[in-house]
Amino acid sequence: MDAINLTETIDTDFIKEVAKESGENPSLCYQCGNCTAGCPYTHFFDYPVSMVMRLLQTGQKETILTSKAIWLCATCETCTTRCPCNIDVAHIMDTLRIMARREGKVSEKDIRLFYDTFLSSMRQFGRIYEVGLLLSYNLKSGHLMADADLGPKVLSRGKIHFLPKKIKGAGEVAKIFERFEGKSDRHG
């Protein structure tokens, strides 16, 4: 790794923005590494969680927003539970994903696609229509056969159904989306 010129690259506004949007104070982190120690996905991350926190403390906006780690985070919240400084680390990761979208810096396009497909299914049916979601995601992502081997197993056990099931109040759920759309430019 090249030397980071801190005088030029510490983006104080970015630190403040993350603090404001997440409601968490990144300075509370003293880099004990407990978040990384418990993280089930750290092996796939380009930067372990504690290092994401460190990059945040040093205002390395570009590196964080283009990182894979923030998208590979499964929001299991082990980091949040274990943090001795009471920082909601998972919520910071969430905030960083929103900011990456807004700035058009998403590194994991497929994961963004999955989120979008998931939400559009939710909007349409008021709940998840799994088969539709999978088909739509696989078609759009080009991973045509992703998880196809699981199909027979879950279908035979009645875990998912071919046809969508509508729920009561699907209209209300759709309205949540509409209401939120007004603010969508803020949330990417």
Binding site: Y30, Q31, C32, G33, N34, C35, T36, A37, G38, C39, T42, H43, Y47, P48, S50, M51, T78, R82, C83, P84, C85, N86
Partner: protein, 653 residues
Amino acid sequence: MRVGVFICHCGNNIAGTVDVAKVAEETRKIPGVAYATTYMYTCSEPGQEEIKEAIKREKLDRIVVAACSPRMHELTFRRTIEKAGLNRYFFEMANIREHVSWIGENRELNTKKAIEAVRMAVAKVMQNKPLYSSSFKINKRVLVIGGGVAGMQAALDCADGGLEVVLVEKSPSVGGMMARLDKTFPTVDCSICILGPKMVDVAQHEKIKLYAFSEIEDIKGYVGNYQIKIKKKATYVDWSKCTGCGACMEKCPSKNAYDAFNFGVAPTRAINIPFPQAIPKKAKIDPKYCRQFTKGKCGVCAKICPTKAINYEMVDEIVTEEVGAIIVATGYSLIDMEKLPEYGGGKYPDVISGIQYERLLNASGPTAGHIVRPSDHEEPKTIVFVSCAGSRDKSIGIPYCSNFCCMYIAKQAILTKDHIPDSQSYVFYMDIRSPGKGYDEFTRRAQEEYGVHYIRGRVSRIYPKGKKMVVRGADTLLGTQVEIEADLVVLGTAVVANSDAAHMAEKLHISYDTSGFYVESHPKLRPVETNTSGVFLAGACQGPKDIPASVGQGSAAASKVQALFSKDMLESDPAIARVNINTCVGCLKCVSTCPFQAIKDKELKDGRVVADVIETVCAGCGVCTSTCPCGAIQLQHFTDNQLLAEVNALCQM
């Protein structure tokens, strides 16, 4: 009445944000003020001279100094005006630094507020009455609470200086935590070898009266004259007959008693002597485990005792001691491992605390100094130490560093290698804190000479896998998770205040912080004093500290007591409650609210009952004055009239 007002610049501390010249100018307009001036440093020697000269030159009879908090310099200026011939209570301080200049940035508003503060002080000083101290005799005996290394040092230093000492220890032997340690860092001295002589001195010193297995029941009185009630807990063994031969312990059939001295590493007998070097070396019965108490029959120890010392009928006994000062050296406790469930301490036998490991290392411990796993008594080869187990963890309410764990972990890792040469130790740490003399070199030695692997990161989880304990943590320097299959895990558990620390503080009328540690009078300049005159602190009851710091404080507290006792008489503070017997209706509400039991009822010649303040006991807190329904009891120097004069001055502006 001619009031003189001296307004201090305090360098830039006050003059930086207060227009002191303007304050002086406005002050001169206040009726009664004969003289007002400003000075760069009023507390300096020339500053005090200026006050004395002005008193003579301007014929001043009341003085106000507008400067810092009265906590800093009230006494200084009271002495100054006394030297110039005024009664020391004809003095008031207006705090225009802590209350004005340091907290506000607006010069105009600050100046206005400073003027108001001065007006209030002038109004009060004009109402002040001369007050005179009386003097009383000091009882030159000292009570030391706690017989750990800090308390023993304090007791020995006092006793060597000729003072009579009453030492109260709640466990059956003196020695405290240090008596449990195997070696001490960074010299790897045998702990009991250096502590033992002190323990023997305590026992043999003719000036020290030791109450072991005893607790403080009640404290009454004030500096110079305390009455202490001590509860001697029942040991069920007559210590005047017990020779400490240990025959009872050997034959006792109840073999599963909890061993508090060994922190439960191994069980002990229901009748036991805590450790071979115990002082006093006497047996005591734990009735929770003794068959004579639980089943109503046994009596083995009574039969075996060669001196017939066993007495199952013994009850707690209360004794009273009178002393003039108190040194509090009650020490610390360690966090219960079960409060840290991710580490599995208390659930898995092979996850133990640092102090338990210390007992395993110790030759006089339950394994005679052989390191074995508690689960199967096999020798561990891979040992993991976890530092900051609970410390620096805000999420469980312990934000502070426990001070000495980094050092004892390095020591234990070194000793482990000495005991088991083919073993490998790992230390999970966040920061290595080793600021003492020779300390950092010691932690380096653990790594360089003994090959201890230090891993910078925390442990997230410990779980069993076959006979091993899997320790999963992070190495933040590598930026990865790491895993170690350990035979034994040692937690550097957080230092916490004793569970009864708050209760003891209330008995002593001293303050404690949010963590339960006792608060010293000043963090830099009065480290062993408390805000209660006559009560001093030593050791870890004030905050986590290691042996040299505790010993230093023990000696420091002893020297403070010596200084206090260097006089035969103490002056009482005349700013105490007084009863006006003409208006007192004898309801005696004040008697029940007084936190110091300083008020009694008194019958007058005409048969009327009124309240009466015991001058030397009253602490001047003022609770009685707000209780009294008819304003008959008044706190001198803070009477209703004096305080209302201040309020009036403020409301007129």
